[in-house]
Symmetry: C2
DNA sequence: CGGCAATTTGAAGGCAGTCAATTAAAGTGG
DNA sequence: CCACTTTAATTGACTGCCTTCAAATTGCCG
């Protein structure tokens, strides 16, 4: 793992996939170092940022899994997205409209938004990085909105397939998040989620493992369920 | 209305809200002119871009209303978003994952994506403009995903409130889109949508007008329904 | 081993969907 | 301008999926 100092620079550099193309690597590195705070460690379910807080920072996940969600006055909660290492998010003006919380133990880097934008104004590689990350998240969000109109089996099948892709694992998926997290993300109750998982198990598409892990037994059938 | 030539430049300039801050206005204008095609006129329900097409262009709505949607093999359709004049959208790599269609007669400007990105690399104002538009759309998309988990009355109330805000009208809203469009956007059937509108009417929150127009009679109660 | 939280399973109810019919509105041709 | 056709929108009756409420089970951590 790289040193914390310059970590964000390394992420940008790796992401833009073009070593040595910064006009002045030292200067860029220095600028990015100056605006980064952390990474900060968080425990499971810690609140990283709260809806309503002044939106001064953009977040970069360095380790673990993070969720962004909204909690309503009646206690209902919706999870908007899960973020994995390398994900950059948290664009708001004025105040956060969503809370950010640690799903697992997590390491998160805080990037001062204004400073980040002014670095982007000088360094087109950084600007490009921000745009790429944001369009990625937009695509994800749109797919998420589409997903919520489907039946429970499709939602769960899609969730499991996407997650195993994002985690880069084949076969056994060690679910980082609770049933409640998944249910709130998929717009289901935990009961319906649990029943749906049971159905997929009985159909032979997946198997339950110890801990929270699941094994995909019939990937093709799972993908077919996604429609 | 401004001349078509340099239209995109004028949009960027107006949006960045800082006249005279481009280092070389003439050069920037020339660069932006070179990458823009159109605006092109479309009739109601015309397909502007089709899911699966090579994603070479970004779209800027100049007039009318546009929708982006996905149609599934079984014929189901979901509307992801409606775009109004000034909205910029269509980020995909390789191929569009959504179709873009005219809701009303519409004028759309086509911006070559690669050219746009390379202009953005040289002009930080343009890069900032792209990032702002994209984060705006991301916020909208996330709110949309949240909306679909709510009851029908809340969805419709939120839709009407948001639309009247975006259109900048008070009282009477001349709905630009069909019931089917709205239903597909809200994740409801047209029957449920129709019944819900009737309910809101009977509650005295809205009134039906000739054409497709609606009048908001009790804005506070409508906002209360949004939760 | 005991206690608490998370998950699973069961039974009953509600909200939106489906199927079908009616009404209203928009487009066409005489 | 009106009769006719076609499409969009509304209304009704019934079904089904997911939710709600409740209980049992499992798993985790002291």
């Amino acid at each position: 793992m790289p040193s914390d100092r310059g970590l964000f620079f390394n992420v940008v550099k790796a992401s833009t996939n073009c070593s040595g193309t910064f006009v002045d690597e030292g200067r860029v590195k220095h600028a990015l170092c100056a605006l980064q705070r952390g990474p900060v460690r968080f425990q499971r379910n810690d609140v990283i940022a709260c809806q309503g807080d002044s939106a001064d920072y953009i977040f970069l996940v360095v380790g673990g899994v993070v969720r962004s969600c909204r909690t309503f006055i009646n206690g209902d909660r919706n999870v908007i997205a899960f973020y994995l290492p390398g994900d950059l998010f948290g664009w708001s003006d004025q105040r956060y409209s969503l809370s950010v919380e640690a799903v697992t133990h997590a390491m998160v880097m805080f990037l001062k938004r204004d400073a980040l934008i002014s670095v982007a104004a000088r360094e087109s590689k950084v600007a490009r990085f921000l745009l790429d990350k944001t369009t990625d998240e937009l695509r994800r969000s749109q797919e998420h909105a589409l997903l919520i109109n489907k039946g429970a089996k499709c939602r769960v099948a899609t969730f499991l397939t996407d997650l195993s892709n994002r985690l880069g694992v084949r076969g056994a998926i060690d679910l980082p998040m609770s049933r409640q997290d998944i249910a709130d993300y998929l717009g289901l109750t935990i009961e319906t989620l649990s029943r749906t998982i049971t159905q997929l198990e009985q159909l032979g598409l997946i198997a339950r493992n110890p801990q929270r892990a699941l094994t995909i037994r019939n990937n093709d059938a799972l993908i077919r369920l996604m429609g």
